[in-house]
């Protein structure tokens, strides 16, 4: 099927089959279903399940690190948890929930399409994820991969070979899923918008998904190559990365980071997109600088392809590389700054409603600005020489990936849950969730910067006793973070069946997904919507009666 053959504005259902059902039943979500909304929710629920598993591993690690000696779990198991915590959080939680979950659910709804360009491919892409996760879980019967999510050879070639091979296969599977998904998004966003919507009238989330998908298409194949060579080295006697047989260990690092730096943007660009939707709705203001935010996504995508060696400043890299990649890394700060200033300016002059979604969005801003600052310090080779592979780095990327990506995912869930399920999440429970998450994440990740600067390396099951008290602070924070998931899970499970009925547009938002019912019809709309205003035209028509309905959940907590 090519996009040209695709009848864009007509139903995709097989004409020979019986008429499609009016809504999906619960068991439809456990089947091979080609509806983008089902697939989106499948991604979100599956990835949340893996988030809990990855989180449990983190709690085990933080418990071990409450004392300097290795006394809670075996250091081998510690390394297996460390490796799989990173792998799961990246490849089975943030990437699939942000791109697969929100991307699939929202993109067609936001551009007025009835589905993605290639629905079957889309379902195949999703169904690569559960077996990949199962493979990772099963690898624990063989000790679990223990060489970090980076899997640098030679360590990865001499440690737990079976588990490492299963790990590689799992990553190649989710990588394939990511490539298929990316292809689908690019075609859908470029060719399936309703005719009245120009690309620069599409919601910023779509721009973010376009940039994300281009990046995934360009970088993921390189990771696959690196990992397959590693697989050959382990199982078939090749020696691409075996130094004693003429292989080169640094070559792997280049292949790995050529993908894995962009992977950072795969995990944050869709979140930027979510932010650009959430801030205008709850500030009741147009997004400040639409074009600047849209183009800065593309700029990050482009520059992001040329910064990967900043992960290798202490490795076998010549001086010119260390300096070239210092400069290119610093440049990423410019488009990122443009976005942050744009979101802050969106709040200026608004009428801000403190829904849980908005709280997480503001929390995201705070955390991400901090993580961005520490990122700049590490981007320069002289400082990175000191902090590379230390807890400073662990603190930094958790500010960006937890404070950034996960806060953004929560903001997105509270915002679109009513659209997905037809019911509102409970707001007071949401505030509790936010408070626990905000306190827990800062308590866990802020002290880590000090640990790293003072001399504690990362990926250790045992450490110098001088770091004990600060580590215990981090451990307490981790327990609070673990607790924060409880009110959220209760909220989701309870609200899904018993929450207040949301209506079509509980937040009075202007993007197209709010023009259909909640949850949307199987083919999204009976009659496709017509574009009457831009996605962020808040305040343009202040006197129109439809704007004066109360907004759900907008009552102040007092």
């Amino acid at each position: 099927m090519t996009p040209a053959q695709l009848p864009v504005n007509t139903p995709l259902a097989d004409p020979g089959a019986s008429p499609p059902p009016q809504g999906w039943k619960w068991y439809d979500y456990f089947t091979f279903n080609v509806d983008h909304k089902v697939i989106g929710i499948q991604y979100l629920v599956t990835s949340f399940f893996f988030y809990l598993i990855g989180g449990a591993m983190a709690v085990a690690m933080r418990t071990e690190l409450a004392t300097p000696d290795s006394d809670f779990i075996d250091p081998t198991l510690y390394n297996a948890f460390m490796t799989n915590h990173g792998t799961i959080m990246i490849f089975l939680w943030i990437v699939p929930s942000a791109i697969g979950g929100f991307g699939n659910f929202l993109v067609p709804l936001m551009i007025g399409a009835r589905d993605m360009a290639f629905p079957k491919l889309n379902a195949i892409a999703f169904w690569l994820n559960p077996p990949a996760g199962a493979l990772l879980m099963a690898s624990f019967f063989f000790g679990g991969a223990q060489s970090g999510w980076t899997s640098y050879p030679p360590l990865s070639e001499i440690t737990a070979n079976v588990a490492q091979s299963m790990w590689i296969l799992a990553i190649v599977m989710v990588g394939t899923s990511s490539i298929l998904g990316a292809l689908n998004f690019v075609i859908t966003i470029l060719f399936m918008r309703i005719p009245s919507m120009r690309l620069d009238q599409s919601p910023l989330f779509c721009w973010a998904m376009l940039a994300t998908s281009l990046l995934a298409l360009l970088s993921t194949p390189v990771l696959a190559i690196g990992l397959l060579l590693l697989l050959f080295d382990i199982n078939f006697g090749t020696s691409f990365f075996k130094p004693d047989a003429g292989g080169n260990v640094v070559l792997y690092q280049h292949l790995f980071w050529f993908y894995s730096h962009p992977a950072v943007y795969l995990m944050i660009l869709p979140i930027f997109g979510i932010m650009s939707e959430v801030f205008p709705v709850y500030s009741r203001k147009p997004i400040f600088g639409y074009k600047a935010i849209a183009y800065s996504s593309m700029a990050i995508c482009l520059v992001g392809l040329f910064v990967w060696v900043h992960h290798m400043f202490t490795s076998g890299t010549p001086p010119w590389m260390r300096l070239f990649f210092t400069i290119s890394t610093l440049i990423v700060g410019i488009p990122t700054g443009v976005k942050i200033f744009g979101w802050v300016a969106t709040m200026w002059g608004g009428k801000i409603r403190y829904t849980t979604s908005m709280l997480f969005a503001i929390g995201f801003l705070t955390m991400f600005v901090f993580g961005g600052m520490t990122g700049v310090t590490m981007g320069t080779a002289p400082v990175d020489i000191h902090v590379h592979d230390t807890y400073y780095v662990v603190g930094h990327f958790h500010y960006v990936l937890f404070g950034g990506s996960v806060f953004g995912l929560y903001a997105g869930i509270y915002h679109w849950f009513p659209k997905m399920t037809g019911r509102l999440l409970n707001e007071p429970l949401g505030w509790v969730h936010f408070a626990l998450t905000f306190i827990g994440s800062n308590l866990t990740f802020l002290p880590m910067h000090q640990l790293g600067l003072q001399g504690m390396p990362r990926r250790v099951a045992m450490y110098d006793p001088q770091f004990t008290s600060v580590n215990q602070l981090c451990t307490i924070g981790a327990f609070i973070l673990a607790a924060s998931v409880i009110p959220f899970t209760i909220n989701v499970v309870w609200s899904w069946s018993r929450g207040a009925v949301a209506g079509d547009n509980p937040w009075r938002a202007l993007t197209l997904e709010w023009t259909t019912s909640s949850p949307p019809l199987i083919e999204n709309w009976e009659v496709l919507p017509v574009l009457t205003h831009g996605p962020y035209d808040y305040g343009l028509n202040n006197s129109s009666p439809e704007n004066l309905e109360p907004v759900a959940g907008s009552t102040s907590p007092s």
């Binding site: 290795s70 075996d74 250091p75 390394n79 223990q146 060489s147 640098y152 030679p154 360590l155 130094p243 080169n248 260990v249 640094v250 147009p286 400040f288 600047a292 202490t314 490795s315 001086p319 260390r322 210092t326 400069i327 610093l330 700060g333 410019i334 700054g337 443009v338 200033f341 802050v344 709040m347 002059g349 608004g350 009428k351 801000i352 403190y354 503001i362 705070t366 600052m373 700049v376 310090t377 320069t380 002289p382 400082v383 020489i385 000191h386 590379h388 592979d389 230390t390 600067l453 003072q454 390396p457 990926r459 250790v460 045992m462 110098d464 808040y538 305040g539 704007n547 309905e549 102040s556």
Partner: protein, 349 residues
């Protein structure tokens, strides 16, 4: 808020933020003590970034908090905010600010990197042509293979291969050979320091104020040699020589940490570097010569005493080809506070 008070408020906030940022940049106290000539260079760059970062964070965070309060929705107000889609001069301004900061930090970083010796790995000066022998410090010459090279091949690199990666001579030392060159080998889970003349230790001893070069290599997997107080780190890679050249500025004992994941006991791969005054160093060096002389024993210092877990020793012994019987015969001698163990030289080792 009225026009004039608000501009005075902004001015006051600006002055306050500037003062706070300068103060935080100088007094954050996050870095460990400085014990190498590179350390102040790195710290100055870091402090400048902490200062700029604090200012930016306060401005952005301050704006968020002020906006959160000032622009909160009032009860009963269901209207929208102002219809403002952007402001080109403002957007150009806040693109230019980070751009200017980035240009400044870029130039500054290159300068620091150069002064640290980062541009000259592999600059070994005249070392390969002259046997330089500063007081009690032996520079290793290729024409004179280390004595122990024959008897302890697996442990001792006879001559460090030409390293292209790492930190070399700083601009002042360019073209000069280092005063002391030590071959450093990383292995699961220990560092071995191989001195000219065949002295092998498990702790690094160096004189303060002298130009020291470490030639890094790894036996099994990648390790990373890090001394936080020196602000220097360089991976030890199997198959690719790297180096670290520096001048330790302050006598004392500092941790040597492996920073690259190298296996289950990666966290235990710690030892120390003892920076001596020149007199102390000479004494230490003499003691190693005495210890080595009597029956041509090869000197191996095993793990420092604070890492006593027996698990560490067994894999280490395997790695260096020492039989368990030999391990059992390890004799410990304490000499001037440094623990050096003697291992009878066996044909294989």
């Amino acid at each position: 808020m009225k026009e004039i008070p608000s501009s005075i408020l902004t001015l006051t906030a600006g002055v306050l933020i500037t003062i706070i940022s300068f103060w935080v940049g100088q007094h954050h106290g996050l870095m460990p003590e400085q014990a190498s000539e590179q350390a102040p260079l790195v710290d100055n760059l870091f402090n400048v970034m902490v200062m700029i970062g604090t200012a930016l964070f306060l401005v952005v965070q301050g704006a968020i908090i002020v906006f959160m309060i000032k622009y909160r929705r009032r009860a009963g107000d269901d209207t929208d905010g102002l219809y403002i889609e952007g402001n080109l001069p403002l957007e150009a301004f806040w693109t230019a600010i980070p751009a200017a900061i980035v240009i400044f930090l870029g130039i500054y970083s290159v300068d620091v990197f150069d002064n640290m010796g980062g541009l000259n790995p592999g600059d070994h000066g005249m070392m390969s042509h002259h046997h330089v022998q500063p007081a009690a410090v032996v520079a290793q010459a290729p024409s004179q293979p280390a004595i122990a090279a024959d008897t302890a091949a697996p442990l001792i690199e006879p001559q460090a291969p030409y390293a292209r990666y790492g930190f070399g001579a700083n601009p002042d030392q360019m073209g000069k050979p280092p005063a002391l060159s030590v071959n450093v080998t990383g292995m699961q889970y220990a560092w071995l320091f191989n001195y000219p003349g065949g002295v092998v230790t498990g702790e690094l001893h160096i004189p303060a104020g002298r130009d020291v070069q470490l030639n890094l290599s790894a036996k099994d997997v990648i390790h990373s040699f890090w001394v936080p107080q020196f602000r220097l780190k360089q991976d030890a890679l199997p198959g690719q020589p790297t180096e670290l050249r520096f001048i330790a500025s302050k006598p004392g004992t500092y941790p040597v940490v492996c920073a690259e994941l190298c296996g289950s006991y990666h966290g235990g791969m710690r030892t120390q570097v003892i920076v001596h005054t020149q007199a102390d160093y000479d004494q230490w060096w003499a003691s190693t010569q005495v210890a080595q002389a009597p029956d041509q024993e090869q000197t191996i210092a095993v793990r420092p005493s604070d890492l006593s877990a027996p698990e560490f020793l067994a894999p280490y012994a395997e790695q260096v080809g020492v039989s368990s019987a030999a391990l059992a015969h390890l004799k410990h001698h304490h000499q001037g506070g440094t623990m050096i163990s003697h291992l009878p030289a066996s044909p294989e080792s």
